[in-house]
């Protein structure tokens, strides 16, 4: 577990109910059961779920026969830190990230925090269209700086480069300079779209020309990705370059191929208003028709489809791109040999070869560090979240990327009491001195007291019933007793009361408050430890179990290091206590009671209940006594 001790996780009930069902709660309410108290053998080191009942009454879950096992593989998918969980007011249920759906509210660049309109997101390839780039070598953000800066002239002029402040890579390493400090992405695109040859010095000039060569014949394209910026006077160049145009850049070649195939589809499609010319043509029914006609006419099955042989007699045939302007690229004869030669040359070496993670972000041809291009920053999204079962919106952030506010935010912490855990240093057990136990090294078989504070964030008082298996599941069986499993928590009130009272309230539980005070306060069964305006603290008495193979393990002599190592590896030595929380409160009837028209009476109260498992991570048990 990644969090430091002590931690608390809350289990989302969705793990046991694959389809979240609002009716489930009603069913469970109708069938309350009172399981009989039953003890299991603490020595039972069975790793499976133990059918063990809790001694508390009214554990009315459907799966009341089974206690929650924080170590079962399923628990990985249901345990969440409390602040990650949401709460659906309609289903009256905790919602974890698995039981919600998300929809994108806005796209923004995480670097410049500008919002990208949704219409431009696709065109910009989900990347920032401004000046934000990531280093292709180390992924840290690049900054635009002028070369003259170093010289100290400092008049904001001169060529500009992108430089990485982390690994000190700059675009000078690949021979790229920019004329302006703005609109870098367009500048870069113009430079790189045309040539992929490593002659970088001539890149920008040749590039823009070849780009326009490509552009002008295809300028009637509807969805060409780059903004059209056709230089004038490129008409003649088109003609003279048609035969031996320079090799196209990746993007340009893709655009050419896309255009070529679009033309092919529109030419070969049979129906006049075929939607194939548009995007995603091949998934349309028209494409299916065309395929069917292909197959039907070329086989004797054609007779089966109405036998209309006149129409299907001549299936349209698509050809492939045959020249460079259509996007064809013929692999050079000695390309591989050249690459190998370069790999083995002394001036390339290991450092000159792009790593796999670097290449993953680049075009497929890139093999060397010299070919890496700066990466425009990927956009991030703000997302609204909906309940999967009732489609109500649970979280709706404000659209602006800079804003941290929410229009709607139904987090679980506003409903379920916030658990927090704290070790209690008790001078009671005579032999142990007072300092708080080290949670990363709990000695086995020695009782530890932990304080569990539940803090209510609702404006209604809540009745809580806690339950826990008396022995924690897993190979290390620790005994757990909740000294006062049933208690009330007061209602939350204004924030100001909290601020005014907060400073003094917890001092009473503090051991520093004097040895006398701490000494006279001992955990008592049936009594809550402490209580505040909207929180209540109870004591859990935990007797950590023995690690298998340790010297404390009964029937063993000496320490079996291997077994301890195995146990530690599987985090068996982590003391995690599953606690079942059942809460009841009287909520005001809300709008769903259909009393929108008339004013709702204040005493119109509805009994509500909620039950869930949570896991308290207390600490790590040591092998030695």
């Amino acid at each position: 577990m990644s969090r430091p001790f002590p931690y608390t996780y809350v289990s989302c009930p969705c793990a046991n109910t694959p389809v979240p069902d609002p009716a489930k709660k009603r069913r469970s309410r109708d069938s309350p059961q009172k399981p009989t108290p039953e003890r299991t053998d603490p020595d039972d080191k069975d790793n499976k779920k133990q059918p063990e009942n809790t001694p508390e009454e009214e554990v009315d879950e459907e799966e009341e026969e089974q206690t929650f096992d924080p170590r079962s593989p399923r628990s990985n998918f249901s345990l969440y830190p409390p602040e990650q969980l949401l709460y659906c007011e309609d289903c009256h249920q905790i919602k974890c990230p698995r039981c919600i759906t998300e929809e994108i509210v806005s796209w923004y660049c995480p670097n410049c925090l500008f919002e990208t309109p949704s219409s431009m997101v696709k065109g910009d390839a989900n990347r920032c269209g401004r000046n934000c780039f990531n280093c292709p070598v180390c992924t840290s953000p690049l900054s635009v700086s002028t070369i003259e800066n170093v010289a100290g002239k400092g008049n904001g002029q001169g060529p500009w480069v992108l430089s990485c402040a982390y690994c000190l890579w700059t675009t000078l390493d690949i021979g790229i300079k920019f004329d302006k400090p703005t609109n870098i992405r367009n500048q870069l695109q113009k430079m790189t779209d045309s040539t992929s040859a490593p002659t970088f010095d001539t890149r920008s000039r040749q590039g823009s020309r070849a780009f326009s060569d490509l552009k002008s014949p295809l300028s009637n394209l509807a969805s060409f990705d780059e903004p059209v910026s056709t230089p004038t006077g490129s008409g003649e160049q088109v003609k003279e370059n048609e035969t031996d145009s320079p090799p196209l850049g990746v993007e340009a070649r893709f655009a050419a191929l896309k255009n070529f195939y679009r033309n092919q589809i529109s030419e070969t499609s049979t129906s006049p208003n075929d939607p194939l010319g548009s995007d995603l043509g091949f998934s349309s029914p028209g494409a299916l028709n065309r395929l069917m006609s292909l197959y039907a006419s070329s086989s004797r099955l054609g007779g089966l489809y109405g036998g209309n042989k006149k129409q299907k007699s001549k299936p349209p045939v698509m050809r492939e791109a045959i020249n460079a302007s259509e996007g064809l690229r013929i692999a050079p004869e000695n390309a591989d040999a050249a690459i190998i030669e370069r790999l083995s040359s002394p001036d390339c070496g290991w450092d000159g070869v792009a790593s796999l993670s670097q290449r993953a972000e680049q075009s497929p041809d890139v093999r060397f560090v010299d070919d890496l291009l700066p990466l425009p920053v990927l956009l991030r999204t703000k997302r609204a979240k909906r309940c999967k079962s009732c489609k109500h919106i649970l979280v709706k952030p404000e659209t602006k990327p800079q804003s941290t506010r929410f229009r709607i935010r139904l987090i679980a912490l506003s409903y379920i009491p916030l658990p927090s855990l704290r070790p209690l240093a008790l001078p009671t057990s005579s032999l142990i001195p007072a300092p708080a136990p080290d949670l990363n090294a709990l000695p086995p078989l020695r009782p530890v007291h932990v304080l569990l504070t539940l803090k209510n964030h609702m404006f209604d008082p809540v009745r809580i019933t806690l339950a826990t298996p008396s022995v924690t599941p897993g190979r290390v069986a620790s005994k757990v007793t909740i000294l006062s499993p049933q208690f009330d928590i007061g209602p939350n009130s204004d924030v100001w009361d909290e601020a005014l009272q907060g400073a003094s309230a917890p001092v009473t539980t503090d051991p520093r408050a004097g040895g006398l005070r701490a000494a006279e306060k001992v955990p008592e069964a049936g009594k809550v430890w402490d209580k505040g305006r909207n929180w209540t603290t109870v004591v859990l008495e935990v007797i950590p179990g023995t690690l298998p193979g340790s010297e404390a393990d009964a029937g063993k002599e000496g320490i079996d290091e291997d077994e301890i190592a195995v146990a530690a590896q599987q985090d068996e030595d982590v003391l995690e206590i599953p606690v079942f929380v059942h809460m009841e409160w009287d909520a005001e009837a809300q709008l769903e009671q259909q009393n929108v028209g008339k004013a709702s009476k204040p005493d119109d109260l509805v009994a509500r209940e909620l039950a869930y498992w949570m896991v308290l991570g207390v600490g790590r048990i040591t092998a030695a006594l």
């Binding site: 990650q84 410049c112 992924t139 990485c164 402040a165 912490l413």
Partner: protein, 231 residues
Amino acid sequence: MPPKAAKGEYIETVSSSPLSTPVKPTDTNASLQSQEPLSNTHQDTGNKISRRSQIHGTQHIILGGKTVIQAEAVIRGDLYRLPSTPASTDPNNPPQPSTAPSVAITVGRYSYISKGAILRPPSRLHRGVHSYYPLKIGDHVFVGESAVVEAASLGNHVHVGARATVGSMAIIKDFSVVLDGAVVPPGMVVPSWCVVGGRPARIVGEVGEGYGVEGAEGGLARERYRAVGRS
């Protein structure tokens, strides 16, 4: 809350009146700070500052109140921005005392600077002049042990993990988390609700919507403050 006796580990600022100046951490780092004028700009009350911390240039530091500074933390208020002067001045030279002390470091309420952390204003070479810029730290910020923060700003409820490094001029927005040991490269912007980690740091996840709620993860600053100096 009466001021604690000078024997305690923490100096607690009591009010913004001039009375509070004698209990500034100057007595602990006498060798370092005795020359400094005592016109401290600590503005609010209840700061808990370890006597074993090293705070330089106190007149350039603003603590928002209820700020905790633990032992061995280093806060470089002496690296403040010089008033705009000709490009020839070297900011590393001891500057002539300016009339209006510029603020080098601002720390918000309930922020917690752990043991051994270093707060250093960011610097940048701009038009050939190396100059410092103010470091702004918001409210409820946690800076972990041995972390080095050179950011331009840390927002509210930011958590900087232990041994993390936040590079010069980085901007960490509200409610974001820098994981332990991460190295946030200079100039990086971490948007709100994001978790960054690794070397160099990248966005590796997001915190839950409940992050920063009082008492939950990200909202523990008040508790942390209360716990200081009690044992």
